[in-house]
Amino acid sequence: MEKFIRHTGVGVPLRRSNVDTDQIIPAVYLKRVTRTGFEDGLFAAWRGDETFVLNQPGFAAGSVLVAGPDFGTGSSREHAVWALKDYGFRAVLSSRFADIFRGNSGKQGLLTGQLNQDDIELIWKALENAPGTKVSVDLDQRVVTCGDIVAPMQVDDYTRWRLMEGLDDIGLTQRHVDAIDDFEAARPSHKPRTLV
């Protein structure tokens, strides 16, 4: 998993609250067999609307999503995180995230940074006044910068550590590979094997 220490990219104002995972990616995209290529499913229901923020040239190349409160509610589908990452987002900022979505994101290298709603509003205005404006997300310092706006960002210590180290669940376990090796060496030989 790619390490996340700080990132600067075009901010995308998503002025909607309660964006659930069905809106992030509809169920029809769940039939696929890959882990990548979900960018076309991201916000699929809104992408046909030419006024939708991602359809505006200034925002199309965005990598920092600045969302309304209660982002990522609903189904536990990990595809929601895949879709955001596949589109090119590295961070989502909101005043409140759904727990499962936040957990899924942390495991897959997508930063979910919690900001005060007042700061979100300020950043929205700055981005809307000048599409293409960049937002800097500094996980090390836990601070978000956009023009003159400097906003503190909440990320729990454990998630911050994992993201800065670039450790997904498997990476975390593999730090203990010696313990796994030792355990395997002591396994009884009568245990079954599928390959003979």
């Binding site: 882990r35 990990e78 009568h190």
Partner: protein
């Protein structure tokens, strides 16, 4: 203080334990199928990770596979893609696979035990909630999600927090015509679909000890329908006799060593369960569900319940909604409910013993004209065994369709589905809305009740059938 069976197996698999962190648990056997594995393999590919232990991994095709024309290309594109993806992934990562048409193909939870891979004291996982089936051997077996599938493929371990333990004591003896399916439906009706949440259930008592391995698998299989993470039964001579001589059973000195270990796998007398529940086997009757979750069940002799009689408000609401979906009137005797389809199969009741039991009921009889009867063996081997015993003839002479192995109408991912409004008596495990096809209505039953229902056309037990002139009914 002594330990429960579940705690013994858990402790024997802890790779790493640290304060405040989940235990890292070693996985002995990882079963894989086409629906929950594609993204896991793709995740490995993206990260450049291999499968750590292909020799502890086995794949089979089951959820999507057709039960007719299995030598032709699969018509449904999504199904075909998932199957073809599994085949490619297994080839790329060196995982053994039993594909459609292979003699060892079948439902993953039928194939593992049949090969002798499922053994006492193992940890077994699969991206499928009915992995609890394997607990019948005294294994700690549970379903996992796709991310966890990837985690096990990469590391052969899982970080897990310990489960609580619940004893389900089934005391006494079953009456003739009452089966393992009736026990587990009664258990779920008693503790509720959420009653087992966070628990490993251990089924104990005289009635459990007297069951065959197939019957024990039926019970453990449906532990998840009570919300439990896993179900277990302590291994005994019945277990050892079932395993001995199977392709992957230990042999010679390894058998002796294994047996010595397996005999330590029981709950100590002074162990304490977090919760205990007792069921009186003598009082059980054939059980059927009337609603849309597996906890909404009653003895066949009962009538459709009146939702207003439920004490709990959420249960009242659920019952009202269920009766509406099921198109049933309170007070209707369950025996008067006519079905359109009888499905005999699934990882719950698709084993040879289940087919034998159903065949014994229908032998020499004709199915009701109004009913379609589908018999789907749990594995290709079960199908072959049944054919060797002439059961296929018994079923086809009865008027049933004799199909190839797979999950089939249990979840309708293949063409075997109920049409909207159709009603089934099904030996499977879930009666959720739309589970067997959009708008389909499911009554969960044992193989004996399914067979008798096929004869009369309404929910029935073998005791309801007119005696045959020539042969006794099993």
């Amino acid at each position: 203080m002594g330990q429960t069976l579940a705690e013994k197996v858990w402790d024997a698999h802890v790779v790493r334990r640290a304060e405040g962190e989940p235990d890292l648990l070693y996985i002995d056997l990882h079963l894989v199928h086409e629906v929950t594995s594609p993204q896991a393999f793709d995740g490995l590919r993206l990260a450049g990770r291999p499968v750590r232990r292909p020799d502890l991994t086995l794949a089979t095709e089951d959820h999507n596979t057709p039960t007719l024309d299995i030598d032709k290309p699969i018509a449904d594109l999504t199904s075909r893609t998932q199957i073809e993806t599994l085949r490619r992934n297994c080839q790329e990562f060196g995982v053994r696979i039993h594909s459609l048409g292979d003699v060892e193909q079948g439902i993953v939870h039928v194939v593992g035990p049949q090969l002798g891979l499922t053994q006492p004291g193992l940890t077994v996982v699969c991206g499928d909630s009915h992995t609890s089936t394997h607990g019948a051997f005294g294994a700690l077996a549970f379903g996992i999600g796709t991310s966890e599938v990837e985690h096990v493929l990469a590391t052969q371990t899982l970080p897990l927090r310990p489960f609580k333990t619940m004893a389900i004591n089934v005391e006494g003896r079953l009456k003739p015509g009452v089966t393992a399916k009736d026990i587990i439906l009664a258990v779920i009706a008693k503790i509720g679909t959420g009653g087992g949440q966070g628990y490993v259930l251990e089924y104990r008592g005289e009635a459990i000890r007297s069951l065959s391995m197939e019957a024990r698998m039926t019970i453990c299989n449906m532990s998840i329908e009570a919300g439990a993470r896993a179900g277990m039964i302590a291994p005994d001579e019945t277990t050892f006799a079932y395993i001995e001589g199977r392709p992957h059973a230990p042999s010679g000195k390894e058998w002796d060593a294994a047996l010595e270990y397996w005999r330590t796998l029981y709950t100590d007398d002074d162990a304490v369960f977090d919760t205990e529940v007792t069921i009186d086997a003598d009082a059980l009757e054939p059980f059927v569900t009337w609603g849309t979750n597996p906890g909404q069940g009653l003895p066949l002799s009962a009538a459709v319940p009146d939702p207003d009689t439920f004490a709990d408000e959420s249960e009242r609401t659920a019952a009202r909604r269920a009766l509406e979906y099921m198109d049933l009137q309170a007070g209707t005797p369950l025996r008067d409910i006519a079905v359109d389809t009888v499905f005999i199969g699934s990882c719950t009741n698709g084993r040879i013993e289940d087919l034998r039991a159903a065949a014994a009921v229908v032998k020499g009889r004709k199915k009701a004209d109004t009913v379609r009867v589908l018999v789907v063996p749990g594995s290709a081997k079960v199908r072959l065994q049944a054919e060797a015993e002439g059961l296929d003839k018994v079923f086809t002479e009865f008027g049933a369709e004799w199909r190839h192995a797979g999950c089939s109408m249990c979840l309708g991912m293949n063409p075997d589905q109920l049409a909207p409004g159709e009603r089934s008596a099904s030996t499977s495990n879930r009666n959720f809305e739309g589970r067997q096809g959009k708008g389909g209505r499911t009554h969960l039953v044992s193989p004996l009740v399914a067979a008798a229902t096929g004869v009369r056309g309404t929910l029935s037990s073998p005791a309801d059938l007119e005696p045959l002139d020539l042969e006794p009914v099993g």
